[in-house]
């Protein structure tokens, strides 16, 4: 290129200018990088706030339903709608279970091109399954059921706490959350080989929900478990829970992939989840659990519980004998939540201290509910008191508390042990406080870690449960390692995944990766931009869904009613309504495009700028619509609960009842006419039943700025449409 000669000429001629220009470019570049890094960090914060709020909402909903169960009469409509999710499995003996899930009469048609399984399973078949799923095949329901049955039989033999050793110089590979992201599992197997006698693996929970291939991941993990029972270990995560699955997409995935037998598959999975071991200890020195610990965690207690009684970690088991009605599960949570506003700090992955008070995202204490319910159901209670039967007078909560106080203490304890294990998060400060952000488990500090490790003679805790940008993160003086194996979790390019290899020296060796060929094509700038646009869209949807409350808040600050507020007022009003703890002023440039000389904001105009389109529903009351947008996934969850035969349809009557339930939950008035208006919009064929999918689609918020209007935002609570990421042909 002949650069050398000409360059030196250039320098001699214009060296001063050249250097000046170089420095200018360099300065700007450095600023560009710094700003990008900061935006990445608060984009992360946005996703995380919304994710955790969703979990909190889910738990609140479940608490509410549980409370209803305990306080409504057996005959009431509301209770009947939802009682089945709390019902003990009627079929309790093993032989009956096997009969119930008999796969033998399910025929596999000749046209079926997926894998055929024969039992006992062989290595070739397990490997064959991985291949088949890589090639987008689906396993036939007959084989799924058969596989699940065998898995269940195997899991029942396992203790609550797996104890393994890295003898014979074997390294064990430990993986964190996978959340239905098959590409990541395939990538791990590619980099690290599949499980085998020389290659033991431990999977630390949250195999399902959010990603689109949860069932395939389960099938693969269970197959290897069957083939290598001494080399493959599974821990239960908080998402191995049918209640959580209702909201976060796994239930929907199974029902849509297995239309005929999905319900049975789900039922069997409920059982299987409850039989998953709770923890694993390696070489008596390293504890591996999904969530974390609390100051009361005791491995000896955990080793003795009947873990299969806990179908869902969110509710303590009901005792079988009829005189006991079950204690409201929120009783001890409520105690802590009911104390005066606790202001405490947690340690989110951004190390961003947030002030959390009892008035969280949805401030509805159950004290409020009980007032409301007592007023509405006085009559019911009167009638009910006269009825004999299993849920007779003992159903009065205070009485039942006392009568079973002795028995229930240990079962409450046990339940808390499991809840803490599956839901807790570490924090930077000493101590142990309830995890109000997620709604379950607690936050535990370095002192609790120290004490726990000493008491149990351990040296390291490996856990998952939280997404980390690098796929892993140490804390508590490197005594706690968080491991997360679902890369691109929030969006393409958001984070790496990681797995850990542990040899006899018990020194963790970490391997990182990031799935998807799409990543390589996007330039760094583009992939960062994507995450930001995604987070931005989610935020705009949330803001739009709170329009009425926001306008109300703005008006209060706009005393002269000119339709404008200052930037500072805008930020404080938005935070007071949204309660996400986000830096609204800093994000202003991305959320408010209109500029004015004095940097005040025209708030009516701002809502137009948000460019979010609502449903075509002028005849429906605005605030009802907003309720719909805001509580979309709660509503959908309730629909799915109500839809007992998983048909995807509910009757008009159930539809009305659902809305009544929701109106009590949200403490808002919804009139009969309003509900009818909603139904009419959807029930176009007037046959008296509502198609759940259609309904949810009709009342979805769409982003006018985005060309991709299909596929729902992950953070409105349902599984993301990851078909944009095609299977990586390069794996």
């Amino acid at each position: 290129m002949g650069c050398g000669v000409s360059k030196s000429n250039q320098f001699h001629k214009n060296s001063g200018k050249a250097i000046k220009s170089a420095v200018l470019i360099q300065r700007w570049y450095r600023q560009f990088v710094a700003r990008k890094e900061m935006r990445r960090r608060y984009t992360w914060h946005i996703f995380q706030s919304i994710e955790y709020s969703g979990e909190q909402a889910q738990i609140k909903l479940y608490n509410f339903l549980g409370y209803l169960m305990d306080n409504f009469t057996p005959a009431s409509n509301e209770r009947n709608l939802i009682s089945h999710i709390f019902r003990e499995n009627e079929v309790c003996r093993d032989a009956e279970w096997e009969r119930y899930f008999c796969y033998k009469n399910i025929e596999v048609p000749d046209l079926y091109s997926g894998p055929h399984l024969t039992f006992p399973l062989t290595v070739e078949q397990a490997v064959g399954l991985v291949e088949a799923f890589r090639n987008k095949k689906q396993l036939h329901s007959r084989y799924v059921l058969q596989l699940l049955l065998e898995t269940w039989k195997q899991l029942r033999l396992l203790p609550n706490i797996n104890r393994i050793s890295t003898c014979h110089s074997k390294e064990i590979t430990i993986c964190g959350d996978l959340h239905g992201q098959l590409e990541d599992l395939l990538l791990i197997f590619y980099k690290n080989d599949m499980p085998s006698l020389e290659k033991p693996y431990l999977f630390n929970g949250d195999f399902v929900d959010r990603g689109k291939d949860s069932i395939e991941i389960l099938i693969i993990l269970f197959s290897f478990l069957l083939v290598y029972p001494s080399e493959v270990y599974l821990n239960r995560g908080n998402h191995e829970d049918h209640i959580v699955n209702l909201r976060y997409g796994f239930t929907k995935e199974v029902l849509s992939k297995y239309r005929m037998h999905g319900k049975r598959i789900l039922k069997l999975l409920q059982k299987i989840f409850s039989w998953l071991p709770l923890a694993t200890v390696i070489d008596q020195k390293v504890l591996v659990i999904h969530g974390g610990i609390s100051n009361t965690t005791d491995l000896n207690v955990l080793a003795r519980v009947d873990r299969h009684n806990y179908n869902s970690a969110l509710r303590p088991p009901k005792k079988r004998h009829p005189s006991v009605a079950g204690v409201p599960i929120n009783s001890d949570m409520d105690e802590e939540a009911g104390s005066t506003n606790k202001v405490f700090q947690r340690r989110p992955s951004l190390k961003f201290p947030r002030t959390l008070t009892k008035d969280g995202f949805q401030n509805r204490s159950l004290q409020d509910f009980s007032e409301l319910l007592r007023v509405n159901t006085v009559e019911d209670v009167e009638i009910h008191k006269r009825l004999p039967g299993p849920l007779g007078p003992e159903n009065d909560t205070s009485q039942s508390c006392e009568s079973q106080s002795c028995e229930s203490i240990s079962s409450e304890d046990e339940w808390k042990q499991i809840l803490d294990l599956l839901w807790s998060d570490p924090m930077a400060q000493d101590g142990c406080v309830p995890n109000e952000v997620r709604g379950g488990g607690c936050y535990w500090g370095p002192d609790v870690t120290e004490d726990f490790l000493n008491r149990h003679n351990l040296q390291l805790i490996i856990r998952s449960h939280e997404c980390k940008q690098e796929g892993y993160e140490f804390c508590h003086n490197r005594k706690v390692l968080t491991l997360f194996s679902a890369s691109n979790y929030y969006d393409v390019g958001s984070n790496r995944g990681a797995y850990v290899k542990l040899g006899p020296d018990l020194v963790p060796y970490l391997v990182q990766y990031q799935a998807s060929s799409m990543i390589r094509e996007l330039s760094v700038r583009q992939s960062a931009g994507r995450s930001e646009r995604s987070a931005n869209k989610v935020l705009r949807e949330q803001l739009f869904a709170h329009k009425s409350d926001l306008i109300c808040a703005f008006k209060k600050l706009d005393s002269e009613n000119i339709g404008r507020v200052s930037l500072a007022d805008w930020a404080s009003a938005v935070e007071s309504v949204m309660r996400l703890g986000l830096p609204w002023r800093i994000m202003r440039s991305q959320l408010v495009t209109g500029r004015s000389a004095d940097s005040s904001i025209d708030y009516y105009e701002w809502f137009n700028e948000l460019a979010i389109k609502g449903a075509n529903a002028d005849h429906i009351d605005q605030s009802l619509l907003e309720t719909l947008y805001r509580h979309r996934s709660t509503l959908e969850t309730i629909f799915r609960i109500v839809d007992t035969d998983n048909s995807g349809f509910i009757t008009m009557e159930d539809f009305r009842q659902t809305w009544k339930l929701l109106s009590v939950y949200l403490k808002m008035e919804i009139t009969e006419e309003a509900i009818s208006d909603l139904a009419v919009t959807i029930d176009s064929n007037q046959d008296g039943s509502i198609d759940i999918e259609e309904f949810m689609e009709a009342f979805r918020l769409t982003d006018k700025k985005s060309r991709l209007e299909r596929g729902r935002s992950m953070f409105m609570g349902t599984a993301t449409d990851l078909t944009k990421l095609e299977g990586d042909p390069n794996i």
């Binding site: 250097i19 220009s21 170089a22 420095v23 570049y29 900061m38 914060h45 400060q429 508590h476």
Partner: protein, 189 residues
């Protein structure tokens, strides 16, 4: 081998071109935070605090950042100083101290204020003028390779991976960069 001629003593310090002056050499003496009056509004300070926390990677949320992060933070907040200016407000620390010495938020504020006051960003025109220097053919483009060389060897040198990141997707099929577009790209963060 011919014997070396006895060389005449070369004239001291007289290269063919005058030594290029370092641009923006700070004329200020050692930076004294006590002399800086803070003019930020309370809201601004709140925003800075949030950003400060984003950069705080201490295990216990002590609200401290390393010296090395100070520059990043100031830039993230919208300023555009040179590395020299940053080292100046940090009190010209040793290189080995950059990742070990910490500062807290109160120490950070006067540094940031000082940088905010000394505005000398360089305009779009300055930028384009600077790049025109390398436009040999006067056609609005510079050779990507040449620009890379410049950024890595002159001024406040960039590392190779930084140059790669900056130039990613900027060069056309002939390895040329339209510099007006390039400048717009850089300034539009």
């Amino acid at each position: 081998m011919a014997p070396k001629k006895k060389e005449e003593p070369k004239p001291a310090a007289a290269p063919a071109a005058p030594k290029p002056p370092e641009p923006e050499r700070p004329k200020t003496p050692v930076f004294d935070p006590a002399t800086v009056t803070l003019e930020f509004t309370p809201e601004q300070i709140e925003d800075f605090k949030y950003s400060f926390q984003l950069f705080d990677t201490t295990a216990t949320n002590e609200m401290k950042i390393t010296y090395a992060q100070c520059g990043d933070l100031i830039r993230a907040l919208g300023q555009n100083p040179t590395n020299t200016e940053i080292m100046n407000v940090l009190g010209k620390p040793k290189v080995e101290d950059m990742h070990t010495k910490m500062l807290d938020f109160d120490q950070f504020l006067p540094m940031h204020q000082h940088i905010c006051k000394a505005k000398d960003c360089g305009t779009y025109e300055d930028f384009v003028e600077g790049l025109r220097v390398f436009d040999k053919e006067g056609n609005g483009t510079v050779m990507g390779a040449e620009l890379r060389h410049v950024l890595a060897t002159l001024g406040e040198k960039m590392r190779e991976d930084e140059v790669d990141q900056l130039m990613q997707n900027q060069e056309d099929a002939n390895g040329c960069i339209n510099y007006e577009a390039f400048v717009k790209y850089i300034m539009a963060s």
